[in-house]
Structures are given as C-alpha cells and as structure tokens.
Symmetry: C2
DNA sequence: CTGAAAGCGCTTACAG
DNA sequence: CTGAAAGCGCTTACAG
C-alpha cells in the first residue's frame, strides 16, 4: 500500500478526475450516487485520509475550536473546567470539529497576549472557560474569530455568553431555607471576585427582600483574597442558623470550621452550596447544592459557536441555563423543631 | 488594517520577496539579522498570523498532538486523566505544539475505529491515556504516526510506554506496613483488570515474599467487575491489620465499609492507597498514599513523542517513573502498641 | 545574503 | 453528471 494516498490516487484508480473524487467524498452534489459509492469504496480500500490542511487552505475553515482555560482555574487536579472541556470536546465531535485546549498562563493573562492557537490560525472560534482579566477579554473581543464566554459574562462585552442562571439559583436556594423556617441566613463569598459569586449573592438578597428579612452586613462573609485565593472563613459572633455558600468547596471548608467551633451540621447550622461537585458528597453530612446542568450549558455553547462560525454577524447575547436544587442532608427544617 | 495578511503583504511592504519573509519569521538561515528584525517588526505591525495549514501542507507537519482518552476513564467529573491532559497540553506548549483532545467512545473502542484527528491528518503523533481494549491498541499500532502509551503498557506492543513504577511503589508501600509491625496485610484490587493494579499487586507480593509472610488467597480482594466498574468490597472473615488498596478511591470506599462494620481506621485497621487524589485527603483519617510524580511522567511522555516525531525509527520501550510515598494518618504503628 | 519557481492537496467557479 | 484550470499561503531546492 502506497504511503501517502491523495484524491488523485483515487481518481486514477477509477479513471476519473480528482474533482469528482472531492465532490463524492464531501457529499457535495455534482456526482452520480453510483460514482459516489464507488469513490468511497476505493477511498476506504486505499486507506485514504483527507488532508485537513489542504482543505483548510482552500476553505479558510480549520474545523477546530480553541478552548481557553486560565491557569488559575486548574490549580486543583479535580478542576471543574477540565470536566467541562471534556464535555465540550465530546459535543464538538457531533459537528466533526476538534477541540484544541490551551492553558492561559498567568503571564499571558496579564499581558493579554493572544492565544497561540489563534496566532497560528488553527481555530475557527474560541470558547473561553471562566472569567479572565479585563484586558485579556478585551483582547479576545478584538480577535478576528467568533468567541463565546462560558460560565461568566462581562458588561459591555460584545461577546455572547453562556452561564448558569446563578441569580435565580441563589434565589431559589435561599427561598428553600426560608421555607424551612430560617431567618438568620448568611452568604459566604467575596461578591466582587466573580460574576457568579455576585449573582448568586444577588439572588440570595432578592429572597431576603421578598421575605422581609433585612440584610446584615456581618452576614456576608469573605471567602477569598484579591487574587481569588481562598482564605480562612471568619464566623460571625451571632451565629446564623443557615449559610448559603457560593460553592461546594467553600461549603466544605465551612463545615470543617463549624465542626472546629463545636457546632453540628445541620443541627446547629444548615449549610448549602453550589456546583454539585465532589466536595458536596464527600462531607458528612452530604450537602444540599445546585446542579448547574452542565450538559445543557455545554451543548448550548457548542451550538452557539458553530452558528457564529457559519454566520459571524449573528449574536446571541446572554444565555442563561437554569439549575436544579439537589436536596441532601445539610439543611434542618426549623418548623419541625417548634412542633416537637 | 487589511483583513488577511500573508507573507506577500509583508514582503511588499518591505520591497523584498516572500521567501526572505518566510526565512526571517521561521528563524531559518539565509537572511541578515538586520532584515530579520525588520521583517518581524512589520509582521507585528500588520498583525500577521502564520497560516498553519499552508505550512502543514508543505512540511507535512501539523504541530498538533492527539490526546486520546477512553470514555470509561472519565465517568467521574474529577477524572484523573483530565488533569493529565491539561498537564500534557501545558508541556506541549513548550514545543509550540497544540494538543487536540479526543474522547474515545465505547463504540469506537469496541470497533477499534481510528480516531478522527488521525483520519483527518490533524496530528503528528498520539498519546494514549490509559489502557484500552486490545484490538483498539493494535489498531493504534498500525497507524502511520508515532504513538506513546501513557500509564499502561501492553505485552508485545511495539509502542513505547510511560508508566509510574507501580511495581516498585507497591513494594515500598507494603514494606512500610511491614516495618510498622503489620503481618496480616491484604491487597484490594482486581488484578486482571489493568496492568497498574496487577503491578502494584506484584510489588505487594514481592514485599510479602521478602518478609517471609505467606500470601493468603482471601487477602486478595476484588474491587471491580469484568467491565471495570467498581463493586462493593467483601471484607475477609479474619480481618487483616492492614489493607493495600490499588487506588485512593477504593481506599476511600474501604474506609466507609470498615466504619460500617464498626472498625476504626487506623486503630483497628490500617489502610493505604495509590494516586494521591482528592479521595485520600477528603476522608477522615487522611490516607497514606503514593504520589506518582505526574509532572515527570508528563514531561517524559511529551519529550518522547516529540523525539519520535523527529525520528520515527527511534524507540524508547518501557519508561518507568518512580513515585513518592506520602505518609498521612491511616497507618498505625503496631510496634508502639506492644510497648504500651 | 536574496529571490524566482515549483509544488504540497485540496475546493471552487466555470465550461462542456 | 463530469472535468480542466486556478489558486489558497506557505517552504524548499536551486540559482545568482
């Protein structure tokens, strides 16, 4: 078998032109169904593989999407965005598109230098996982390929975003606590750190307003420093009966802190989180949390980016994907207390 | 600014030929250092991006590596191979190579169908993460690109592999238990399931032999079924004083089982694992385990694949990367017992 | 040190 | 339905 088979080899084998071979293999019109079948047979027999580079050079389409992740989101071996990338790649495959993952180092993020996969024209579009430095995102906006923000959005950005409906989930989760008789409810999360933390907080606040519970300043607890690194949690003097934590990992830490302080979950304090991650199930008690429906978010993101590649003018703005509350064992029903 | 800048545009701007531009930008000899600098300046000014497809078409090099992961290894959101992929991609960047991740579905694995990134000539080489079906691996061997197996090896395979030194780590870990006075030591893991499980077992066995402890059949405990799915662990009647678990996840399950059976870790039973994963730190007590030095494994894998691309004849065979024991709180020193 | 020419393997617009 | 011709943007071997 010849080492490198190209369309001309197939054409010669059948005594036709390579134009017909091209049309047959790419399912374009202009060849009889009979010939198409024959061409495909011969292609298979000869072990033909299409040369994506040659195709790209003519069509100006790479059939690759860049998936960008900031280094800071993958400090953990179990980082959530790794999983998301995997799901994106799986989904892209439905469109015969490959995913090129690229990790944005701290330096590139600070310098707002454009990703290599873009610099080398390897990709038709970009999916950005998780919020980055403002300047970096502006650079992304200026690039000549369609992009989508995943899991965050930015004011004024002309780039479409797909996010979990954090606001509504925060609202629902807090409502759940209120419905179980809680009134002293704290929020754990640094609300300037990311749009997710902030929106979950605002949902929490909306629930307080609607339920005529006043917001207490000391009940909004910082969980990370200016660089986004997690810090030790400070419990308020007057202990709340419930904590809405901006993510499961922080909920996990909080449970440890409470235990240290001699408090029991959920008997003394209820704790809820977000993300439905490993952290929510590997604690005792397992934590009530919000599942963000990542599958839906991923398939939406992939659909949007492919459509934007086909039609770069089209915009989708902010797409919100609703989450689902997963009730577990970290919330006490205070109304039952009063009965007994 | 013109939309699509190519080498000819740069050449015209400077009144030189595109050949000189090409040589200047790719740091090839044949241009004066003075001109090289000028060319790079103009390229930057015009926002030039090299066209990887055109380059590939001429050079037959794609500057992409395929990273293959079987679906079955990423059932977990926190799957270890996601992290490994990330590290590989980070490392590839040092060589200006991009990583194209591809998830092998159960069907493709069973049918041994070649990966799309290969079928479309998008990659110069392949890194296979984790053991796949025999037929699938034979298919990989037959492909016309260099490949490397990561984290497993196969008898008779002509493909080079990079693995943790599972045998030696199993041996060392068991030695540690023996040195702390343990004699009744069980191994938890289905030894036919993967080469890692088997080699860790053989290391365990070597330690037993050397320490003149006889191997007890009932002390080798199955942890997964024929499809590799984890099953409920059966504790032996005569309880061992220590368990060597083939991975942290199983160690984690074992601790739960032991607790259910009313046994305390490490007071009644010591437990050790492998992998240094989240499972080993999210249990109480935190588990003594083996860190596999993934960084080293990854950088070795990347080095090997790039060298093989440059020189496809060259072979490296089986490369073993030593691990490190991380001592935590799940092992009791029985010798102290006797004293007190 | 510099450049004209050929060609990598496709696809597309056009002609028959 | 079929095919000859042109061209995408590079790199390489060769000539000056």
């Amino acid at each position: 078998m010849k080492d490198k088979i190209n369309m001309l080899d197939i054409a010669n084998e059948l005594g036709i032109s390579k134009v017909s071979v091209s049309k047959a293999l790419s399912d374009k019109e202009g060849v009889s169904e009979e010939l198409r079948v024959k061409v495909k047979e011969v292609a298979h027999k000869l072990g033909y593989r299409i040369n994506n580079s040659a195709r790209s050079l003519k069509t100006d389409r790479q059939f690759n999407i860049g998936i960008l992740i900031s280094e800071k989101f993958i400090m953990d071996k179990e980082a959530y965005y790794f999983y998301v990338s995997g799901e994106i790649i799986r989904k892209l495959d439905d469109y015969s598109i490959s995913g090129i993952m690229e990790i944005i180092t701290e330096t590139s993020e600070l310098n707002a230098s454009s990703p290599r996969c873009y610099n080398e024209k390897k990709v038709d579009g970009l999916i950005v996982l998780g919020q980055l430095q403002c300047d970096y995102l502006q650079m992304i906006e200026s690039l000549q390929v369609p992009s989508v923000f995943f899991d965050f959005y930015v004011k004024n950005a002309k780039i479409d975003s797909i996010t979990a409906d954090n606001f509504f989930s925060g609202y629902s989760l807090t409502n759940l606590l209120v419905s179980k008789g809680h009134k002293k409810i704290a929020y754990v999360g640094s609300i300037m750190a990311t749009s997710s933390i902030q929106d979950r907080y605002l949902g929490y606040y909306k629930s307080l307003i609607e339920n005529e519970i006043s917001l207490r300043k000391e009940y909004v607890i910082e969980d990370r420093d200016d660089h986004g690194r997690l810090i030790t949690l400070q419990l308020p003097e007057d202990l709340p009966t419930a904590f809405v934590c901006n993510c499961d990992q922080v909920a996990y830490s909080l449970v440890q802190e409470l235990k240290k302080a001699g408090k029991k979950v959920p008997d003394d304090c209820s704790v809820v989180g977000f993300d439905n991650s490993l952290y929510s199930t590997l604690v005792d008690p397992q934590i009530t949390t919000v599942d963000h429906n990542i599958d839906k978010m991923v398939s939406t993101a992939v659909k949007v980016i492919t459509k934007k590649i086909a039609n770069p003018q089209r915009t989708y703005d902010r797409i919100l994907v609703p989450g689902t509350i997963i009730e577990r064992f970290s919330v006490k029903d205070l109304r039952l207390d009063q009965v007994s």
